[in-house]
Amino acid sequence: MKHLLTIAATLAATTALGDAPVLTVYTYDSFVSDWGPGPQVEAAFEATCGCDLQFVAAGDGAALLSRLRLEGARTAADIVLGLDTNLTAAAAETGLFAPHSLDVAYDLPVAFNDPLFVPFDWGYFAFMMNADAEMPDSMTALAASDLKIVIQDPRSSTPGLGLLMWVKTAYGEDAPTIWSGLADNVLTVTKGWSEAYGLFLEGEADAVLSYTTSQAYHAIAENDDSRVFAPFSEGHYMQIEVAGKVAGSDQPELADAFLAFMVSDGFQSVIPTTNWMYPAVTPSTGLPQGYAALPLPDKALILPAAEAAAIRDEALEEWLTALSQ
């Protein structure tokens, strides 16, 4: 019965806020969690917008897109936040997104300009290891080593798909050779990032596919310098996370205001230590200490959204073939 009370209380609260317009933002689950950016972002935006910002969470980036496709034009979303550039081509194809009018100087290692999507954070994929382990300096060195790695399934995880793109972008035609070399290093393939990272922290694997910013997490939140990423000479593939305005939104002005807020300090300063990614626009206070100390890869790799979508199936086939032997 407590639930009925909760529902009644929620209804009452909604009525109290009755005059304030509601902005509905669909995002991935870890964004809205109590340990993610959601709560701080909501408070900061509501302080200025005179509105009620409501998050709706759906799994990860891929789940978010599935949800949007299921709902189609009838979706209640005004903003979809949390797709990455491996998903934006498919997202644009749905025709559900409207162009934005922002012109911002992003602090990204590559030029980024998309008529539909606005970046809010980014990171480099990397293998996290223990500082005292022998560090491979490339995929080939990793494949030649006896190191055991945990990776994520590209069909269920955005980092997993990122690794596929990483190998394909860096090695092109030779990607199948790299994968067959890596096959005996792969301890297991998990559904998502958190299971893989958990296995690594439990000491099950020597390395795990994650982000360079994982090193910043351990340094900042745990004061632990013993977990570091292995810099690879061929460069590191990037993940750029974006948000877009839904064309059928009943709050188009508010949605525009949110996108503008998203690339301002109020939002961007929350990102580094809650989402543990680089902010798309460095806030005026600068990056936290642990980030400033983070080594930057020599080369930033990324495929344009259309290309990423075009080679996805071929890259997946190569991965499946190599790891099914």
Partner: protein, 515 residues
Amino acid sequence: MADSPVAIGRLAGPAAALFIALLIGSAFAAVLWRGGGDLSLGPSDVAALRFTVLQALASAAISVALAIPIARALARRSFPGRALLVTLLGAPFILPVIVAVLGLIAVFGRAGWANVALGAAGLPPLSIYGAHGVVLAHVFFNLPLATRLILQGWDAVPAERFRLASALGLPPRTVFAVLEWPILARIVPGAFALVFAVCLTSFAVALILGGGPRATTLELAIYEAFRFEFDLSRAASLSLIQLALASVAAALALWLVPVLPRAPGLGRAPQRFAPGGWRRIADAGIITLAAAFLLLPIAALILRGAPALLSLPAPVWQAAGTSVQIAALSTAVMLALALPMTAGIASARSGQAEAVGLLGLAASPLTIGTGWFILLHPRTDPAAWTLVITATVNAMMALPFALRTLVPAMRDVLANHARLAASLGVVGPRFWGVVALPLLRPQIGFAAGLCAALSIGDLGVVALFAAPDQATLPLQMARLMGAYRMEAAAGAALLLMVLAFTAFWVFDRWGRASA
């Protein structure tokens, strides 16, 4: 049985079965319709089908084969702490998958206890990752279920029979042929089918321990079809294959095996008559090994989670409250479905209707959730239905276990008491109140406990529907892991385990307190 006194089962039983069939059928139809109506499969789906069937067969065969000696040892030996041990041995089954896998890795993983011990003894390490790891995990989950089901069959043999066998000095071989074999013939096929169906829909286990894309199960392929390719017709096709497989298993187990009549006993507490000598030592060894296999991973989880348990962040406790409410509602829905179905099935000569119950387990939760999302979304906000849908899906998942334990007991109740009750005019609701419910109390307690525990640990459909403030404990644990907070997640895992186990214990205790 034209004069069956369980009038309630007459209409309500088929109605409950129809309700479940409709719930599954409409969800599947919705997904298929949105996908364009065609049935289609991807190239790798045949491999997924093959792996799914093989691992489910292996898991079911090993679970049941190991459960038989364990159940027999437990059934015929009495020792201090036996009741506690029997309850504890059931623990792995009610553990949430991700929690149990973490426990298994702590014991059998590369850095686990077993390998540390092997390394100290100068032996080569063993690896838990690969197809055998998937089977190992499934045996860990399902051995308790199979043991419990078989043990219930054993305990249901009238104590007088074992006493008579003992008084006549029958050799163990004859006792087996005369008393024990009939029990096994009655219980084992159903237990096998149940474990097989559980393993068919396995998802998280295969993903963490499978070692790579070789270990792709149908449920994983369904997940990919929804999330990665957004190919709804493929998702629907795979879900139908999964259902068909479970139907075949159900058909083989429930239709071909005759319902054996059971002799009436005096219902007295079982006295244990068991052979001595080396068999005594063997039984002790079997019980010790089973306890070590099933309880060490749980001990690992307790050690790992205890430091963080008391400092868990407030949202975790809040989520625990939500999970308990969902569990209570799920249990109520489950009993509302299971009791009429039990009466209906037990009055019939064969177990067709029980097969419908098994389908609830084999239907992909992701497909049911998505199907209902498609149906609800145009009409209403699906988030408002979270509680109802979650409770119903949870109830459906627990239903086959409930039926497996309720139906044989109900058959006995009807065989032993129906005629007398009918001649006294105790029929319909009065038969339920005076005869059936009190006699079925242990089985109701067990089934309710199982449903409550499974609901607490279930991540399933909630993730598809829930509003952010309706997070359940498993979801909150996943969020902690997603935010690097592995220590706190271990604490949440322990809380999850304690809650699930307490829920089971409370109901089961209530059920057994009647004797």
